[in-house]
Amino acid sequence: MSSAATILACLLIPLAGTIAIMLAARVGDNLRETATLVTAGALAWTVWSLLPEVMAGERPHLYLFEIVPGLDVAFTVEPLGMLFAALASSLWIVNSIYSIGYMRGNKESKQTRFYVFFALSLAATIGIAFAANLFTLFLFYEALTLLTYPLVSHKGDEKTLRSARVYLGILMTTSIGLLLPAIIWTYWVAGSGEFTPGGILADHLQGPALGLLLALFVFGIGKAAVMPVHRWLPAAMVAPTPVSALLHAVAVVKAGVFSVTKIIVYIFGVDHLFDTPSSGWLLYAAAFTIIVASLVALRQQNLKRLLAYSTIAQLSYVIMAAAILKPLAEIGASVHMVAHAFGKITLFFAAGAIYTASKKTEVFQLAGIGRRMPWTMTAFTIGALSMIGVPPTGGFVSKWFILAGAFQADNYVAIFTIIVSTALNAAYFLPIVYLAWFGREVEGAGPEHGEAPLASVIALTITAALTILFFVFNGPVIELESQIFGAPS
């Protein structure tokens, strides 16, 4: 199969999967979930099959069609997108296994709709990952917003709908209100929106206008959840946990920071931005988000909301790393995307498993739960350690790179932020871990329960294992990303 056909297959497999899921649902639930798993497996396999080429330095390209002169739908696989696509598609397999346990365990309604929109969301995610220009990126970005709406509003009661309204409202407002003008502005000054190594704006836009355009992009990409456009993420927590796990810890939010990184690297150009003082605000905005989101997380009682605020902070790590504008930090940004994905999906899986087994959602209820659910809480502990950045977890690797990049740039704001936020992360994760293992369970506080359904436990064990493995086997990722940013020195 030619590489262009492979890219097309990556987009079509989830779409074909939705049809298969719908048809299979008429036969029975088991077949439907088999269809989901097969689709996820096929997608991951196809995405991974692109990796050798990209590793070899090639850039597979697929040109679909021209909408009007200057506006194309086209795809190019470059290292950042490759990494993101591989990450999302692989975790979809694990997530599908987990979903089976969760959705059945909680007897959720409308499961077919759930699986269908999940597959469609993945198609949109792959489209974002491989987009070759700003227009294609925007196309799939908006599609992802709309396709995740039915997942967020899944429950359909009044409270859920209100949250879903916030979700859609913020993401649509920012994307139409800021991102679209930014994209049109870019096309207007640069004449194109192709993602080009080294950027396309260097010859066209300088000075304060560049800082303004950057602001339009960063806040326009609401999915990156830089404060003050972060409110949608806690709101999205009303969704079933598998949605929070894959979409709001990996696919959607990573699509946000991925887009910001990609735009910084391929539209603005790292060097051009570094030479423009007016773009310096981004670092401070990210640092502010990290600190404030961590402080807010410190005060959360609801476990999923706590994880959401933790995600907001972690996303801004990626933004901050990208805003340091040094090769090592850029690599740190992409490594952190992976490390955080493994860690956070594990945490969400654990939160969902706890809910499935015991219906507990608040932090204080977790006292002593480690003895009832040892697998789940072990995974949770590993995820939490990765968030803090303790070896031997993936979180340590990315922090190492970001710190190294910050030293390279003599960027003391970034260094200070990382140190403070590490302390804050420890301050809100470690008490939970301590409570779960060593706390005393309140007598008669809830029903007797054991571990979550097997499928869920398998899934969270896998991701926890990945979190640890990534500490050791991160070479390929770094090698891949070094292609764009130059070898780490």
Partner: protein, 500 residues
């Protein structure tokens, strides 16, 4: 075949016009419907043929009765007319194909032949406006189509259609008469009614006051017919109480054709000759367009009646079109014309979806469609997708025009950013009023809805097919936009080509 090709501009009017009385002779309802649809299809085929001609070689002219111009009546078809010919005949055909069931419900059997006849007359009138190059002829065709549309609207099942149509008639006649005064004054000064001839001769008397007065009368009169804010008051009720299928047709075509005359007249006759007219035009139209966009969208956000909500949205969308035109630049006019085409697609699809809902729900109010997506999944899915086009989500036709419009306002100078802001804000308002419906239809509970016990089922297949065709076209022209873009760019060039 080539002999026939030469007569296409005339046939475009004659075919529907001659079929109109013939339809009356067919008493059987289904036969009437079939004949009307077939005629409309023929008319659409002629429009397509004309379009291909324009794309291949440029404009085609036709002298009625072979009288030489400027004495005889000249027909002229260029990119601008073709763009709207496609919209008018395409919309009419698509709507008719799905209309039988819905019209059967709204209109008593023995009146249906009359109704179909009026429909064809409306099409003939609109086509006539688009093909003729004679100012007085435009007036006559304008009145033919207007009279026919009054009849169509008054067929609405609710008695409130009657006061609405009366208002429509008064306003429409005033607008047309203003136009008549305007061309009278011009004829007085120049002695010609042929648009091309007028452009040349008016140059000699451009500094005379009657010309200025004529410009005023014509602009106001046509703005009234085109429902340019704040002359839109007739529109919301007329659209709301018309039979559902008539609303689809009118929303897609009627006001746009009036805008067509407005732009054509202004750019052919006045812009090249009157000193400073371009600025007057822009300063007059731009604030009104912005107000239209903002005010009408705001009203739409709070309107519980679904048809009226979309009617207000139409007022806002007309604001987009005039905003593009008021930039008086190639990019701006292209964007405006493109939006004529794309908005027709989006609004037709939305009103068609409402017509589907109307098959089961008598009063199309927000509270009556709670949870209806369960019974009518296809209809509501079509509504959501068409709504996305109205909002301007990428991948839909609506996005293309928004892209062009925002690019055009960026180009227009330092104020461009503010204009872009208005466009963006009103897009967000569109999100609000579309999503209000989506939420109620998908997540509302059936118990609260007063469905009066009637069984709610999916709309009849032909209507659904028409709706989904419209939806598919929204996406087709969102991805392959070259045809409308090509036509609008050419049309904008033609309009601007007359300005020195």
């Amino acid at each position: 075949m080539s002999a026939l090709q030469a007569h296409m501009p005339a046939l475009q009017v004659i075919v529907p016009m001659l079929s109109a009385p013939l339809v009356l002779l067919l008493k059987e309802r289904r036969l009437c419907w079939a004949a009307t649809t077939l005629t409309s299809l023929c008319s659409f085929a002629i429009a397509v043929a004309l379009c291909m001609g324009v794309l291949a070689g440029g404009e085609s002219y036709y002298l009625m009765g072979s009288w030489p111009d400027p004495y005889g009546i000249e027909l002229g078809v260029d990119a601008f007319s073709v763009l709207l010919l496609l919209v008018v005949n395409g919309a009419s055909t698509l709507v008719l194909m799905g209309a039988f069931g819905s019209l059967n419900q709204d209109i008593e059997g023995h009146r249906q032949p009359l109704f179909y006849s009026a429909w064809l007359l409306a099409v003939a009138g609109l086509n006539g406006i688009l093909v003729t190059a004679d100012a007085f002829n435009i007036f006559v065709f304008m009145e033919i189509s207007a009279l026919a549309s009054y009849v169509l609207v008054s067929a609405g099942p609710n008695r409130r259609a009657l006061p609405a149509v009366f208002k429509y008639l008064i306003m429409g006649t005033i607008g047309a008469t203003f136009y008549l005064i305007g061309i009278g004054l011009i004829y007085l000064m120049t002695g010609t009614l042929n648009l091309a001839d007028m452009e040349i001769r008016i140059h000699l008397v451009a500094d005379q006051k009657p010309i200025l007065v004529a410009a005023g009368f014509i602009t106001i009169g046509l703005a009234l017919k085109a429902a340019v804010f704040p002359l839109h008051v007739w529109l919301p009720n007329a659209y709301t109480y018309a039979p559902n299928m008539v609303t689809v047709f009118l929303a897609a075509c009627a006001t746009k054709v009036s805008l067509y005359i407005l732009l054509r007249f202004d750019f052919f006759v006045f812009q090249p000759n009157l000193a400073g007219h371009d600025l007057q035009f822009a300063y007059f139209l731009m604030p009104l367009s912005l107000l239209a966009v903002l005010v009408a969208s705001t009203v739409a956000m709070f309107e519980p009646n679904l048809k009226r909500m979309l009617a207000w949205s139409s007022v806002a969308q007309i604001g987009y079109i005039t905003l593009g035109a008021s930039l008086v630049s190639l990019a701006g006019i292209t964007a405006g014309l493109l939006h004529m085409f794309n908005h027709a697609l989006a609004k037709a699809a939305l009103f068609l979806a409402l017509a589907c809902l109307g098959m089961s729900v008598r009063h199309l109010r927000l509270e009556n469609i709670a949870g209806i997506a369960r019974q009518m999944p296809w209809t509501m899915a079509a509504f959501v997708l068409a709504g996305l086009s109205l909002i301007g989500v990428p991948g839909t036709a609506g996005f293309i025009s928004k892209w062009y419009l925002i690019s055009a306002v960026f180009e227009s100078g330092p104020w461009g950013v503010a204009l872009a802001g208005v466009i963006v804000i009103s897009s967000l308002m569109a999100v609000v009023y579309i999503w209000r419906v989506v939420e109620v239809a998908y997540f509302g509970s059936l118990e609260t809805g007063s469905t009066t016990g009637a069984t709610i089922a999916e709309a009849p297949l032909p209507l659904l097919l028409a709706t989904w065709t419209a939806v598919a076209l929204n996406f087709y022209f969102g991805f392959a936009a070259s045809l409308p873009v090509e036509l609008s760019t050419r049309a904008a060039r033609i309009l601007l080509g007359h300005i020195p």
